[in-house]
């Protein structure tokens, strides 16, 4: 009898204990999370002009499958729902509303592109749905005061531009600067950071050239830049054009101090097509390990990634940096979910995303760590300069704390 009594009391206590946090959580908003499942929403351009980025979504899906195979997060399996938005903002709005209103996801994660994210930012903040780790390098995502439900991920373009400006000013006397940039927000964001970094030295820019994504070649722009007499060249181009620019500059014998933006720092898709010899002495700022760079071949993080790719995403290319990118960000997301413990209210998910401390990701450069706080919604803010030595990116100098001013 007493045994039974004790048993009943135990059950009562246990159920009370189980109920208490649940009761506290429902006072806040728990959507998309049950005792066995966490629903995450995502959009990606699997079709259209930007479909090269579609592989990021596939890598993330593959990583969450790995997490689920290993038992999930805090006993819950991740249900990753990903839709194609074709990089078209109205479609992103439609798909994200579907995710929030019909699929009832807990939050939206890694939506890709500046215009698509801009289109959904207001809606998600009004609905108080977290919009986590968006895949865009624009500067505006770190704005917790006005958009407390939106958080960026990668270092932004403006900071990177400032890093190059500082280097040029301290290393080249009588710098005459030539710039080639893609005529859109990405190009202009880099340009702004670079010009801000130059400050008064802005008048040393002797020529700015632009191109459109749809242009077949940029050869004439490079010839113009050479003829302008520039001895510093900031190359703000996407991979295909970056390879053309490096090759053309080499062919016509133009040897400026050549800054190549991080967007195009891949050995596999840019430097090799351009020619490794032509690429010698390029300078870039990195925050990730280049997956095609031979110096990481024996690195633990890199090897883990390769093993993961072979097992969970065998179709994915091992020379595509985007697959490394997706791997990193999926690991960060998993970490935030782990930090949530048993409280998966939207408030707590946001709170945990904003309290990541010195977290290392396998494909970040050594020494670069993820840090967020309630006033800092820019997870990765460190970069390191590297010079191409004909074979690999040779890192030099310190890790730069590229905090937004």
């Amino acid at each position: 009898m007493s045994l039974l009594k004790r048993f009943t009391a135990g059950v009562l206590l246990a159920s009370l204990a189980a109920l208490a946090p649940a009761g506290a959580a429902t006072a806040q908003t728990v959507v998309g999370v049950t005792a066995t499942e966490i629903k995450i929403g995502h959009t990606n351009p699997y079709s259209g002009n930007a479909s090269a980025y579609g592989t990021i979504g596939k890598t993330i899906a593959a990583y969450f499958k790995k997490v689920n195979d290993e038992g999930g997060v805090n006993g819950r399996k991740i249900n990753f729902i990903s839709y194609d938005d074709g990089y078209s903002p109205p479609k992103t709005v439609e798909m994200v509303r579907k995710l929030v209103e019909q699929d009832q996801v807990a939050f939206v994660f890694q939506t890709l592109g500046t215009p698509p994210n801009t289109a959904i930012q207001k809606y998600l903040n009004q609905q108080k749905v977290p919009q986590l780790f968006v895949a865009t390098g624009a500067t505006k995502w770190n704005d917790p005061k006005n958009f407390p439900w939106t958080m960026g991920y990668q270092p932004n373009y403006q900071t990177e531009g400032r890093v190059y400006a500082a280097y040029a000013l301290s290393h080249v006397k009588d710098a005459k600067i030539g710039i080639l940039y893609q005529n859109d927000d990405y190009g202009k964001d880099y340009l702004k950071g670079f010009e801000d970094g130059l400050g008064d030295a802005k008048k040393q820019i002797v020529m700015k050239q632009t191109y459109e994504v749809t242009d077949p070649t940029i050869d004439s722009q490079i010839v113009n830049l050479k003829n302008s007499g520039a001895n510093v060249f900031f190359n703000i181009t996407t991979p295909k054009f970056a390879a053309q620019a490096i090759k053309k500059a080499h062919e016509i014998g133009w040897k400026p101090l050549h800054f190549l933006n991080n967007v195009s720092s891949s050995l596999g898709t840019v430097l090799k097509p351009a020619g490794l010899d032509a690429s010698r002495d390029l300078i870039t700022a990195l925050y990730m390990k280049e997956v095609t760079d031979p110096q990481w071949r024996n690195d633990k993080g890199f090897q883990d990634w390769v093993a993961f790719m072979k097992k969970y995403y065998p179709d994915g290319a091992l020379d595509d940096q985007a697959n490394g990118f997706g791997y990193n960000v999926a690991i960060l997301m998993t970490q935030v979910l782990k930090q949530c413990g048993n409280d998966f209210s939207r408030e707590n998910i946001m709170k945990q995303a904003a309290s990541v401390k010195n977290f290392e990701l396998p494909l970040l450069l050594p020494g670069i760590k993820v840090n967020t706080s309630p006033t800092d919604f820019a997870p990765i803010e460190q970069e390191q300069l590297a010079k191409f030595d004909g074979e690999k990116w040779a890192l030099f100098g310190e890790v730069i704390e590229a905090v937004r001013k």
Partner: protein, 349 residues
């Protein structure tokens, strides 16, 4: 085209038995009116059954229907091909967004203004384009579709460049107990009805006959005293105005505009819509709009790996089964059914 040949066939039958044919026509007309009323009632009642994101999708269907009707006026009825109507859609959307965001004008005013702006742009573009026929005109309009997104980026002070312009969703006026989605749905529905009635009136009268005559044989039309040049450029203008109004509504409903929203693919999607819906029919744009809104989503549900391949299969399937579009197919079914019903009733009397 389908409507006209159907009517012609009926008229030919009428030669044999005039009163019966008149009765048939009257019966068919009242049946058709009934069908339209049923659709209208269903459309008005839709917010009772669906909400939120579904309603947003249907609002987009209505917007597409307006744009498709505009394109159908030009391509289906007047025989001028356009691969550039996405450009007018974009111009309309930006007209609305700039007026609301930069000048603080009420969004309601931006809808007719967008129509007017596109009417003028379309008319002016239509004048020189008159010299171009068929494929050449298609190419000229295609260049417009290519150019507009870049031009939008160029005037950054007004358009916000490639970052676009973020708008606020309007609330229902006069304290109507409607959500934002419901209000925007009813607003769009009202605009849609007005524009469809206007188009039906335009096409049913003298002007409509002139527009169609130019398509069927422009030399004969000219000989009958139709001013080809004027009619063609006015049709171009009106068509652009319709599409521009659709664009303005989309800016208000999506609450965001960016050059990426109005790329070449949009123009091609619109052309797909009128062909699938039914070339040269009034109802076609509605079916076409349903198609271009929902079929890509279904394709994605069927296969994540190759949604556009699935979409392509749908497209081929539809064209194979319904070579004159959904509207043409339904018309055929309709004629068969009514003819059988009428012959049965005339046998019994």
């Amino acid at each position: 085209m389908a409507a006209d040949s159907g009517a012609a066939a009926k008229a030919a039958e009428g030669g044999a038995d005039a009163p019966a044919a008149a009765r048939t026509a009257a019966a068919a007309r009242s049946l058709r009116l009934g069908a339209v009323l049923v659709v209208l009632v269903l459309a008005a009642a839709l917010p009772l059954f669906v909400s939120g994101f579904r309603l947003f999708q249907f609002t987009q269907v209505l917007i597409y229907a307006i744009a498709l009707l505009g394109l159908n006026l030009l391509t289906g009825y007047n025989g001028q091909f356009s691969l550039g109507h996405g450009a007018f859609y974009g111009i309309g959307a930006y007209t609305s967004a700039i007026m609301v965001d930069r000048w603080g004008i009420g969004y309601g005013w931006t809808i007719p203004t967008a129509g007017l702006v596109c009417l003028i742009v379309g008319f002016l573009f239509g004048r020189p384009a008159l010299r171009l026929e068929g494929l050449y005109l298609a190419l000229a309009t295609f260049s417009l579709a290519l150019a507009v997104p870049q031009i939008l980026k160029y005037f950054e002070d007004w358009t916000g460049g490639s970052q676009g312009i973020v708008l606020s969703k309007p609330k229902a006026p006069l304290h109507l107990p409607l959500t934002e989605d419901q209000w925007l749905y009813f607003l769009t529905l009202a605009v849609t009805i007005v524009l469809f009635v206007l188009a039906a009136n335009l096409l049913g009268g003298r002007t409509g006959r002139a527009i169609v005559a130019i398509r069927d044989n422009h030399i004969a039309a000219e000989a009958m005293g139709v001013n080809n040049a004027l009619y063609k450029s006015v049709t171009f203008g009106v068509s652009a105005a319709y599409t521009g109004i659709a664009g303005a509504l989309s800016a208000i409903v999506v609450a965001y505009v960016a050059p990426d929203s109005f790329d070449v693919f949009l123009s091609i999607t619109l052309l797909t819509g009128i062909v699938i819906g039914g070339f040269g029919t009034i109802a076609g744009p509605i079916y076409g709009a349903l198609f271009i809104q929902f079929v890509p989503n279904w394709a994605q549900d069927i296969s994540k790996a190759a949604p556009w391949a699935i979409f392509g299969l749908f497209l081929i399937g539809f064209m194979y089964v319904m070579p004159r579009g959904i509207a043409g197919f339904l018309q055929l079914v309709w004629i068969r059914l009514t003819r059988r019903a009428v012959s049965r009733s005339s046998n019994s009397t």
